[in-house]
């Protein structure tokens, strides 16, 4: 197992290098630079050259790439064109919000998906199964922004039950407890919007994995030796059926560094997704590049984690 982890990690390195070259070239091929962001109509050619020199844009591209890569490895992503803050500072401000949104949504989605998937599988081809299947088809066909808009309209504009966007209610000062409650109410809509999308896909996955598992020989053995239905379901079937789902969840969690762009933008959630969107509109390339490379890194990392988890949880899988 240890050897497998090391081998897979080493394989990920060239992929990440390739990814970094790809992203770097992509961002540098885009028109514009700091002088477009720090918009100053009186900027003369000398000032322009100074500005480019300050951000290191006057050097040849391969040199720029190597410098950037070296700095990335020690966690220095350069300085934002727009605010002149260190990119790492900007990202550190935004990442917690995304982490919060993602962890809560994924946890909720995981619990719901397992629950609904198991119900569907146990009552296969019942009206309940058909209803859940229909609902998941609806969820998969629903564009994320549309779902967000509808939730916002129903629960905050029409019913006034929940705040429509942001993380806190402005203009009030709360004691810690009420501030926490206030924050929670702001979380409900974005978490719902995000988890519905995951539940729709995952519950289908859980259902078929569960059906597959209940057909296994050891399930018949368990039944023959008189294990109770509940124990059979949870201890024999569920434990094995959930393994493939966990790997899917791990892979989906890898998209965290990119943030949930759509949901975050609609609910004005100050996470990585909306940071990316803002930086794109202000052409803040160092921030864009950092988000792209970080999200690529997280995707590769969580794919690796998913593979390793699969091997750990399912001893039948032995990697050579």
């Amino acid at each position: 197992m240890g050897r497998y982890i090391i081998r897979r990690s080493l394989q990920a390195i060239p992929l990440l290098l390739l990814l970094s070259v790809f992203m770097f070239l992509l961002i540098h091929a885009l028109p514009g630079g700091p002088e477009q962001v720090i918009f100053n109509p009186h900027l003369d050619p000398v000032g322009r050259a100074n500005l480019r020199a300050r951000f290191g844009l006057d050097q040849p591209l391969p040199i720029q790439y190597l410098k950037w890569l070296g700095n990335c490895l020690i966690g220095n992503f350069g300085f934002s064109f727009a605010t002149n803050q260190a990119v790492s500072t900007v990202i550190a401000q935004r990442f917690p919000a995304t982490l919060q949104l993602f962890s809560l949504s994924l946890l909720l989605a995981l619990i719901l998906a397992i629950f609904l998937g198991v119900i569907s599988a146990v009552r296969q081809n019942s009206p309940l199964d058909y209803t859940l299947t229909t609902l998941s088809y609806f969820g998969l066909a629903m564009p994320a922004f549309l779902l967000g808009l509808f939730l916002q309209d129903i629960f905050s504009v029409q019913l006034h039950w929940l705040p429509d966007s942001g993380t806190t209610t402005l203009g009030y000062t709360f004691d810690p407890f009420n501030a926490f409650i206030d924050h929670l109410t702001h979380l409900i809509l974005p978490v719902t919007a995000l988890s519905v999308l995951f539940v729709a896909g995952w519950s289908r996955y859980m259902r078929s994995s569960m059906i597959e598992t209940t057909k296994q020989d050891y399930m018949r053995t368990a039944r023959a030796k008189g294990v109770s239905p509940a124990s059979r379901l949870v201890r024999h079937a569920l434990r094995n059926a959930v393994i493939p789902l966990i790997t899917v969840v791990a892979i989906d969690f890898g998209s965290i560094a990119g943030g949930a762009t759509i949901t975050e933008t609609i609910f004005a959630w100050p996470g990585m997704g909306s940071l990316f969107f803002d930086s794109l509109q202000s052409r803040d390339f160092p921030v864009l590049l950092a988000i792209l490379i970080l999200s690529g890194f997280f995707v590769v990392l969580f794919n690796l984690i998913a593979d390793v988890l699969y091997g750990v949880m399912d001893p039948r899988i032995r990697y050579s």
């Binding site: 088809y137 564009p143 808009l149 969107f277 690529g296």
Partner: protein, 312 residues
């Protein structure tokens, strides 16, 4: 006529039938492969419903304007601005008095065309890359699959937003192209897998023995046998691409006027959602039901094409 030494037995159809009835498999009509798949598909009610809905949707978008007379999606009727759905304007009007029904049909043409053509393009890329990787293996496989890994590792929306913001001129062609250049990865992996498995088959060896070239083996012998999964993924890709286009348009990175799609209609209508909800509902429901239908048809095809699903 009487042949000497032979009993005069009339062997008419009516008398033969009962004997064959005992062995029903002989009576059953022989069906072609396509017929079997078709029969399986139409027995899946959800998929049939999806297919019927898609046909209706295409008729609605492409013939609807001529039939209903709502042919002027861009004409402004200031006197009829911000009207709720009525007989005259089945989907209402927006704040400058554009006929939303006409816009929905015109936008649908764009959305469907973008979905279909970006799917076709992505499938062609995917088949090209996947078949070369799977068939030739070795170095070609390694290079092409690492390329696929890189594209898969980048969050799709982020990449699309960056590229659209910088390179897209908002025309249908550029949006289709952008969606397609990142949409081929799944198909490529699928095709590669099929090719890896199929190239070991006897018929490939037979084709090689009679001197067929690589190109001929790949596209005349192996590819048709991999058609099933490709068709399924193509169908599902149309739905995914329609959503992708609507997301791009919603965030302002998609199509620019005068071409407008369902996604544009939603982003236009969104600021007025609380006063004129029909501006978002109509295009939203059209996207939703079209994507749903493509998914149902795709899953129906998957079941119908599954060789392990035995007949009854």
């Amino acid at each position: 006529m009487d042949i000497p030494g032979q009993l005069n037995v009339t062997t008419s159809e009516e008398e033969v039938e009962p004997i064959l009835e005992l062995t029903p498999e002989l009576v059953q009509k022989r069906r072609s492969q396509a017929r079997i798949i078709f029969d399986r598909f139409i027995r899946n009610r959800a998929a049939l419903l999806g297919a019927a809905f898609l046909i209706l949707m295409f008729l609605f978008c492409f013939l609807g304007p001529t039939v209903s007379g709502h042919i002027q999606p861009d004409v402004i009727h200031p006197a009829d601005a911000s009207q709720a759905p009525s007989l005259k304007y089945p989907f209402g009007t927006d704040y400058i008095g554009r006929d939303q029904f006409a816009r929905a049909m015109a936008g649908g043409q764009v959305s469907l065309l973008v979905g279909l053509s970006s799917m076709l393009m992505a499938i062609v890329f995917g088949i090209g890359i996947g078949s070369m990787a799977g068939y030739f293996g070795g170095l070609a496989d390694n290079i092409l699959m690492r390329l696929t890994d890189v594209v898969l590792a980048v969050p799709l929306y982020l990449l699309l937003f960056v590229l659209s913001a910088s390179y897209s001129d908002g025309s249908v062609t550029s949006v289709v192209f952008l969606i397609a250049i990142f949409g081929w990865t799944y198909t490529a992996r699928l095709v590669r897998g099929e090719f890896l498995a199929l190239k070991e088959r006897e018929y490939v060896l037979a084709a090689r023995t009679i001197g067929a070239g690589h190109f001929r083996i790949m596209f005349r012998h192996v590819l048709p046998n991999a058609a099933g999964p490709i068709i399924v993924s193509a169908t599902l890709l149309v739905g995914a691409n329609i959503i992708l286009e609507s997301v791009l348009s919603y965030f302002g990175f998609g199509l620019h006027p005068p071409s407008s799609s369902w996604g544009n209609m939603i982003s236009d209508g969104q600021p007025l959602f609380d006063v004129s909800p029909w501006l978002v509902f109509a295009p939203g429901m059209l996207i939703f039901s079209t994507v749903l239908s493509f998914n149902l048809v795709g899953d129906g095809l998957r079941d119908a094409l599954d060789p392990y699903m035995t007949e009854r």
